[in-house]
């Protein structure tokens, strides 16, 4: 059945207002529903050419996945209609334009690219946590809310770990947008969340340099990204800092294992350039030579796709662990107990990323004196102590970072840090109960109550013994 769509047409209680545009596989209309003041958009797949099942399967895929998504980084799902008589999906209308608007302005100033990249990385991590890989990350599929968060739109090529993958079963060809497609997607592997990090890397590269790292290839040419590395961004945009080149080229690694393990780790690097561990990637100014490229070509000939996705598994393999360390005198035994605990966590979670944090408590009203008698900055002193704490942990330097937060409320500062950085696990020390602690309230109990993730509370052997004797604990 073919419908004539025009402003005023009513479909299942939604009134079409304005035709917003027509893409490759669907047209978009602004719609309204009585009693619903929120701006809505209706996506209507183009099923004109009935010989091509792709728009139908993409529509079905969105129909399956969108109702299950939630949060600020996805458009809120409202309603859907079946193929007969009229297929559509209604969702929240995100005001503004997609990142596509930047395409005419590239190259963009690199600090702006970093800001965009971090936003998209946060959005991707939130999506991956919902068991979904987007698989078509590109500027036109990213919107920025007025409140600043990135929103990922268009789930036509997406894959949900716990739902049938209709695309893979229907077709035997790679899906995605060729300039952004990860090498494993070229091999029809739709199971790795790190494919989205590759696409984001392409986007960052493009925004920084004004050129696409793999051009705009067609047909069999898309395979060449399996062996041919892109021109290093700094060769095209000399003002791109080495750390940013490091981040971008790490996203663009052929083997997903060599990329960031999670989008959260990528966001962490984009937001903390000082933590980025520079490797040979940062210094590179030309593409790899013939031998290296040839070796990759040989490897690509044998490449096999993965079978089943394991998004949750990939995310849990590389957790971000925040360890909150009290550096005040007398807390040395507690810091040592925490070091043992972190050592144990590292022996189980081989790819864990450790964020060591200390809070420098500031006064709410008085002017703080943040220097000691000899004029040394307390902040720097704390940082030195933190590094000393972490020095004996058996962990490569790129997987551990040190931060000193200055805040009047230490617990609130830790919880906020955990939330902003997608921390998976907090390890915090606590003292056994005392009358004073009960009166003041303990930082650890406030963190346990308010943290968005798992929390392990560490006590020292001495405090455990004391508690056995007195029978009480906070």
């Amino acid at each position: 059945m073919r419908w004539r769509l025009s402003p005023g047409t009513e479909i299942d209680g939604f009134t079409l207002l304005e035709h917003l545009g027509t893409g490759g596989m669907a047209q978009l209309w602004a719609v309204t529903r009585e009693g619903d003041p929120t701006p809505l958009v209706m996506k209507i797949p183009l099923l004109v050419d009935s010989d091509d099942p792709l728009p139908i399967v993409c529509f079905e895929t969105e129909q399956m996945i969108m109702p299950r998504l939630s949060g600020v980084h996805v458009p809120r799902f409202v309603a859907t209609g079946p193929l007969e008589p009229m297929p559509y999906i209604v969702m929240e209308r995100i005001p503004g334009e997609s990142l596509k608007k930047h395409l005419d302005a590239v190259p963009l100033p690199w600090p702006e690219v970093v800001t965009i990249g971090a936003k998209v990385a946060h959005a991707l991590h939130d999506l991956h946590r919902q068991h979904v890989i987007h698989l078509d990350v590109k500027p036109s599929n990213v919107m920025i809310r007025e409140t600043g968060e990135a929103v990922l739109i268009d789930y036509g090529f997406a894959r949900h770990e716990r739902l049938p993958d209709l695309l893979a079963e229907e077709f035997r060809e790679p899906f995605g947008t060729t300039p952004y497609m990860a090498p494993e997607q070229v091999l029809q592997d739709r199971a790795d969340p790190r494919s989205d990090l590759f696409a984001l890397g392409v986007m960052l590269y493009f925004f920084v340099t004004g050129k696409r790292p793999f051009g705009n290839p067609r047909g069999g040419q898309i395979r060449s990204r399996l062996w041919r590395d892109p021109v290093p961004p700094r060769a095209l945009a000399p003002d791109c800092p080495p750390w940013l080149q490091e981040v971008i080229l790490r996203c663009l690694e052929v083997d997903p294992q060599d990329r960031y393990a999670t989008a959260a780790l990528l966001a962490l690097d984009l937001e903390n350039p000082a933590h980025v561990k520079l490797t040979e990637r940062a210094a590179r100014l030309e593409r790899d030579g013939g031998v290296k490229t040839f070796r990759r070509w040989l490897k690509a000939r044998k490449a096999q796709p993965l079978e089943a996705p394991n998004i949750a598994g990939q995310l849990s393999r590389a957790p971000i662990v925040l360890v909150a360390i009290d550096l005040s005198p007398g807390a040395e035994d507690l810091a040592e107990a925490q070091r043992l605990m972190i050592g144990r966590i590292l022996s189980i979670e081989g790819e864990a990323r450790i964020a060591c944090v200390n809070v420098l408590k500031t006064s709410r009203i008085a002017v703080d004196i943040l220097e000691d008698e000899e004029g040394r900055s307390l902040h720097v002193q704390r940082l030195v102590q933190l590094r000393h704490w972490g020095a004996t942990l058996d962990i490569p330097s790129e997987r551990i970072s040190y931060s000193v937060l200055e805040a009047p409320d230490p617990a609130a500062a830790l919880v906020d840090y955990a939330r902003r950085n997608n921390v998976d696990h907090i390890v915090i020390g606590a003292r056994a109960s005392s009358a004073l602690r009960r009166y003041l309230g303990s930082v650890s109990s406030q963190v346990v109550a308010e943290a968005p993730c798992s929390v392990t509370v560490v006590r020292t052997p001495r405090d455990r013994r004391m508690a056995d004797i007195s029978g009480e604990f906070a």
Binding site: I56, V57, E60, P82, E169, E170
Partner: protein, 246 residues
């Protein structure tokens, strides 16, 4: 409305009790049994009595091949199944046998078909054990959604508008939308004799309003069920299956 789909109970009292308790916990509105109430397990009479009581209260129960073999031929069965059927015959009274013999082969509601083995020839007991078998089913059955058992391992087949068939191995506790644009064949795993390496009982819940299907696993006291199989003198293999889920 939430419909619980239970199949291949095979005389396993512990597994059926655990699944029925679970259906009450999540507030299921109706029960539909897809057959094979007896065979293999040590409590066929108890299971039949339970199901009869539930049918009196509105549940639907369908005929499975093991149920049909009680008063019919067991020649097509493998030796272990045949031994169990012969043992089971002696455990059932006349009324219980009549209840099994009178069970219908299929049940239809709108465009949804319920059956033990397959939709195109319910009485030949063909297994829906892979995509090729599913294609045979889809090419001969008009129902939009078919629910069956018989295979003991949960699987969800679907056919697109262009007649491409996909197979999906469901993961637990997850609502799968049965899109109206596709045709679906949902194989429900066994309550009483799981065979996918997980000993927990299988069943599924179909939400008719939302058109979603949820495959569930319910852990039950399989040690007791296996012990009873041994005590009854049934083949050792049947006890091991309950312990290992394969």
């Amino acid at each position: 409305m939430l419909i619980a789909l239970l199949t291949d109970i095979h005389g396993n009292r512990e597994a059926l009790s655990a699944c029925l308790a679970h259906t009450r916990l999540i507030g299921v509105d109706r029960l539909i049994f897809l057959g094979d109430f007896v065979g293999y397990g040590a409590d066929p009479a108890w299971v039949v009595d339970q199901v009869r009581g539930l049918v009196d209260k509105g549940a639907i129960a369908l005929l499975g091949n093991h149920d049909a073999a009680i008063d019919g031929s067991d020649e097509d069965m493998n030796s272990v199944a045949r031994e169990a059927i012969r043992w089971t015959r002696n455990q059932l009274g006349l009324e219980q046998r009549r209840f099994l013999a009178d069970l219908p082969l299929i049940h239809e509601e709108g465009s949804v078909l319920y059956v033990h083995a397959n939709g195109y020839a319910p009485r030949n007991w063909d297994y829906m054990s892979g995509p090729m078998e599913a294609i045979r089913h889809f090419s001969r059955v008009d129902a939009h959604i078919t629910f069956c058992g018989h295979v003991h391992v949960p699987m969800l087949y679907h056919m697109s508008t262009t007649a491409k068939v996909g197979a999906f191995s469901p993961v637990g506790d997850n609502d799968i939308p049965l899109l109206p644009s596709r045709t679906w064949l949902a194989v429900i795993g066994a309550v009483g004799q799981p065979r996918d390496g997980v000993p927990a009982a299988n069943y599924a819940v179909f939400d008719t309003a939302r058109q979603t299907l949820r495959y569930l696993r319910v852990p039950y006291d399989n040690a007791t069920a296996a012990r009873k199989v041994r005590e009854a003198g049934l083949p050792e293999k049947l006890a091991l299956r309950l312990e290992e889920g394969r």
